[in-house]
């Protein structure tokens, strides 16, 4: 009641701002697009059920209602705590998250309960429900980030703390016994009871914060002080030291955990942020050379990596088609089977591709939604990255700029590594597809990244404080 009277009595900041034609928050547009995203999820869910067995799935109302409530909740929190944030980010993430749930539902139903196809033994019959629950956790994390971090620069205070946390998170699976950390050969998990999380997904955000904080503090010395060697400006060792050491440690941990995809992701994040901070192209050159050299070296020295190269070049080799290259071959055949329009949800045979619910979910979409669906998905990812980079450009705070650019670019890189891997563009390294793949850690971490990007864009678009006109409003005195 009091709030309502206040609204009526005092001109809201919104109307006063509109009077001077400042940018709008566009929350209404966000809500409309969010409804559209939920609608896509609902229709995809119905289509999957009809495709599988000709019936509308029994859990339709529950699933769609829970998903819609979560998204509207996120929207309301944005409205309250980040009202100037980019209106596209939330709906884009929502449509990806929704389609991911539908695909996991479709895969979990395969061959079960009289549906056509073969059951996927690596997928439980409650996988979609778990994914929905993880979505709830993801939205909670999203809300928490938005509420706790009111300004991006708050994070800057915890540069070293977060760097340490990131390293610890990365190191835990390497130190744990395999029984508590290893799934399918990758030692990147923490398994407690029936519960497993991938700390690396969160470490990525922590380390991005650390890189941003450190590079902002040191960017002048990094780009100005130093020697010129063979036409390239090299920074002083003492400035670069800590960051190189941290990077090397994280690399070592990743190699010990046999997670080459994540390690490539960290490397890309590191190089990109270094380049933005110093504006020196030499870093890109050095980074690319290091990466190619490292990849070739790993390809010849580490048998596991060498095999990846062989599979990439010859996925249909009759000697490996039913063992190591089966996954890639099946994924490619599935995508070809889908063709331009796809078989339709529930009508293809994505269950033939091992682990189609995680690393290969993109080929599952390719099979059932076809080229049309994949182009839409890639455009959504592209748009997500572009909106993130736009937030980075718009903000004036160098730390926020660096953080947002790094986190956005890492989404592009992640999509490139996994989608390029499953489509035979580059050698395959298993990482998750953001928002689509089954798995809680990736989903929660991705929602946290969206929250950070929205916070940055909110700060960037928020108009400068207006001169105070109504003295009556200034009577609140805060005692600190």
């Amino acid at each position: 009641m009091t709030a309502a009277r206040n609204m009526a009595e005092y001109p809201t900041s919104d109307t006063s701002r509109r009077a001077v034609a400042l940018p709008r928050g566009r929350r209404g547009a966000e809500l409309a697009m969010l409804c559209f995203a939920v609608g896509i999820m609902a229709f995809a869910y119905i289509a999957a059920g009809l495709g599988l067995n000709g019936h509308v799935p029994s859990g339709l109302v529950t699933f769609v209602a829970v998903f819609a409530v979560l998204m509207v909740l996120a929207h309301l929190v944005v409205r309250k705590f980040a009202s100037w944030a980019d209106p596209l980010l939330l709906p884009l993430a929502a449509v990806l998250n929704g389609l991911g749930i539908v695909m996991i539902y479709r895969l979990q139903e395969s061959g079960r309960g009289g549906n056509p196809g073969l059951p996927i033994i690596t997928l439980t019959s409650h996988a979609a429900l778990y994914q929905l629950m993880w979505t709830a956790v993801g939205i909670a994390a999203f809300i928490a980030v938005l509420i706790v971090i009111r300004e991006p620069r708050v994070l800057q205070r915890y540069t070293y703390t977060l760097g340490t946390i990131g390293l610890i998170l990365l190191a835990i699976p390497a130190l744990l016994p395999s029984s508590l950390s290893s799934v399918n050969g990758a030692k990147v998990w923490i398994i407690l009871g029936g519960f497993s999380i991938q700390p690396g997904e969160f470490a990525r955000i922590a380390l991005a914060v650390f890189f941003a904080g450190y590079l902002v503090a040191k960017r002048d010395v990094l780009s100005l002080a130093g020697r010129r060697f063979m036409g390239i400006d090299l920074p002083r060792a003492r400035d670069l030291g800590p960051i190189l050491v941290l990077w090397a440690i994280s690399m070592l941990i990743l190699i010990f955990e046999s997670d080459i995809g994540t390690s490539a992701l960290f490397f890309g994040l590191f190089i990109a942020m270094l380049y933005i901070a110093t504006q020196r192209k030499s870093w890109l050159l050095i980074g690319l050379l290091l990466f190619v050299a490292g990849a070739l070296l790993a390809g010849t020295v580490i048998p596991h990596v060498h095999e990846r190269f062989t599979i990439w070049l010859h996925p249909f080799d009759p000697h490996t088609i039913y063992s190591s290259s089966e996954q890639l071959a099946q994924g490619l055949e599935g995508m070809a089977f889908g063709g331009i329009f796809g078989t339709g949800l529930g009508l293809g045979e994505p269950f033939r591709t091992p682990l189609v619910q995680s690393d290969f979910i993109f080929t599952g979409f390719g099979e059932e939604l076809g080229l049309t669906g994949l182009m839409a998905l890639l455009l959504i990812f592209g748009l997500l990255v572009q909106r993130g980079l736009r937030a980075a450009m718009a903000t004036r705070d160098p730390f926020a700029k660096l953080l947002a650019a790094g986190l956005s670019f890492v989404i592009a890189l992640q999509v490139f590594i996994i989608v390029g891997g499953v489509t035979q563009l580059i050698p395959l390294t298993g990482i998750t597809t953001p928002f689509l793949s089954q798995g809680g850690s990736s989903l929660v971490a991705s929602w946290m990244v969206i929250a950070v990007l929205m916070r940055v864009s909110d700060t960037a678009r928020r108009p400068a404080p207006q001169p105070i006109q109504d003295e009556g409003l200034t009577q609140v005195v805060r005692a600190v």
Binding site: P116, A272, M335, L378, L389, M393, A405
Partner: protein, 505 residues
């Protein structure tokens, strides 16, 4: 810093463009190559997801059509093949196993020969399937309408089962060449091959394939037997066309024993009996099936003329398909490309179907059908029509003549001779296909072929005939391995088929 971010954003764009180009390449340009990869399970599974056309026996004019192969929707949106009449139609339908076209043994019979239509992949069905693409209907195959008469086929198969010896029977419409019945015994149950379990299929296939009775062999068109005395029809035809014998009432020399020229072996008639007065008419010689008369006639006509006549009737043709490939019948044999005989003793034996001559039951029926059709051999065929799922006709059989071995008048002479076999009380088939058994006027010829080393095996029983002799609508060839006298074993089977088809007794 914004300049660097802008560049990074271009780099991201390049990454996404690379992905999009590659996905387009994969899902548009690489589709066919990937679909053709060995062991592509999705392409393989397509056969179970599309409705495969039916095979329908539709040869009874005015009678009911009989579905002999159909697709049933089983659990999980998968179609499973079923053969409602199983063994009866096995030599015709063949089977459609889950191996499909991926294995040379995946499909047989009509399932293989008309697979393109049944599976819906034939180019002539493209327009129909295109319509389906837009209406969202799953791809459907076309149905194959056979010329088989359900009545004749049932009678043929039941008669073979009752006989219980390796045998086959073929019935033809002499006017068109349409095959009315094609049965073989013993045979297999094609339903055993429709299992969706590849392990089970391998087991079933091994059991059936290694069965010593040769269950998969279609004896009607892929097994050959000595024609025995039925070959005397070909010898007689050659005698008429070469002008050595004027007509059916002309007399020919028939010694009680015929010393084969250039040898010390004498050929006797059955039981060493004399042949009439030694100068029987053609009608009488065929009625009682004199060996000496026709052996000598063969020598009079000559090896080359017999070879030409046999070729005209359809022997030695390696390219005949109905559309199932037919094993060539061979004269003088043993292979289809053997040259004409020059040795008189061999010519004499071959003229009564005893040398190296072999023929399929289908060829047996074709000889009778030619005589019934005024001397014109029609190309035999099994498929009458192919209809798209919307019942529009995709293809209709056009009866075509293969050859004209004899004139209409000569066909008349032979008809009269063959009527003697069943109507004359001394005829070899008087009891089994003549007035004592039926009111139908059947023109026929029996054969009892000795075979094996020194004729150690049981004789094969052969019967070739057509009916009604005045206006023939069905010609039948039956061979029973080890059946003994042709009149005893083979003729009753032919009679049952004719009775069923004509619905007369």
């Amino acid at each position: 810093m914004n300049r660097a971010i802008r560049r990074l954003s271009i780099a991201s764009l390049v990454l996404f463009v690379l992905l999009m180009v590659n996905v387009n390449y994969l899902q548009v340009f690489r589709v066919n190559t990937l679909a053709a990869e060995a062991g592509n399970a999705r392409v393989f599974d397509l056969q179970f997801k599309n409705w495969r056309g039916e095979i329908i026996a539709a040869g009874d004019t005015g009678g009911a059509d009989q579905v002999v192969a159909k697709s049933k929707l089983v659990k999980g949106g998968i179609y499973k093949r079923a053969y409602p009449l199983g063994k009866e139609y096995a030599p015709v339908t063949g089977y459609d196993s889950i191996l499909g076209t991926t294995s040379p043994f995946g499909l047989t019979g009509i399932e293989q020969a008309e697979n393109k239509f049944l599976a819906g992949t034939a180019p002539s069905l493209a327009v129909y399937n295109l319509k389906g693409l837009f209406t969202g209907k799953p791809k459907q195959g076309a149905s194959v309408y056979l010329t088989i008469s359900p009545r004749a086929q049932e009678a043929a198969y039941q008669a073979l089962v009752a006989m219980g010896k390796p045998a086959a029977a073929v019935a033809i419409n002499p006017r068109t060449g349409a095959i009315l019945a094609m049965a073989s015994y013993p045979t297999f149950n094609p339903n055993a091959y429709t299992t969706l379990d590849s392990g089970q299929l391998a087991k079933v296939d091994k059991r059936i394939r290694t069965n010593p009775n040769g269950l998969l062999l279609n004896r009607a068109i892929n097994d050959t037997f000595p024609p025995g005395s039925t070959f005397k029809l070909v010898t007689s035809s050659a005698a008429f066309t070469t002008g050595k014998v004027a007509n059916q009432n002309a007399t020919i020399p028939a010694p009680t024993a015929y010393l084969l020229p250039g040898s010390h072996t004498s050929l006797l008639n059955d039981g060493g009996a004399p042949c009439g007065n030694g100068h029987p008419t053609m009608v009488y010689a065929l009625t009682v099936s004199c060996n000496t008369a026709f052996a000598k006639l063969g020598d009079t006509v000559g090896g080359s003329a017999l070879h030409n006549m046999a070729n005209a009737y359809g022997f030695n043709n390696p390219n005949l398909t109905i559309p199932l490939p037919v094993t060539p019948s061979a004269y003088p044999g043993p292979a289809a490309d053997a040259p004409a005989l020059t040795d008189p003793a061999q010519i004499a034996l071959s003229a009564i179907g005893q040398f190296n001559d072999t023929e399929t039951p289908l060829q047996e029926a074709m000889v009778a059908a030619t005589i019934a059709n005024h001397g014109t051999t029609m190309r035999p065929y099994l498929v009458g029509q192919i209809k798209a799922p919307d019942q529009s006709t995709v293809q209709t059989a056009q009866p075509t003549a293969l050859a004209h071995p004899i004139t209409s008048a000569q066909a008349g002479y032979l008809t009269a001779m063959m009527e003697g076999v069943t109507q004359n009380p001394s005829g070899t088939a008087y009891q089994t296909a003549g007035p004592p058994s039926t009111t139908i006027l059947i023109a026929g010829k029996t054969g009892t072929a000795q075979n094996g080393v020194n004729n150690s095996h049981l004789d094969d029983a052969v019967f070739t005939c057509f009916a009604p002799a005045s206006n023939p609508t069905i010609a039948v060839g039956v061979i029973v391995k080890g059946g003994g006298f042709g009149a005893d074993a083979a003729a009753p089977i032919a009679l049952k088929i004719i009775q069923a088809y004509l619905r007369q007794h």
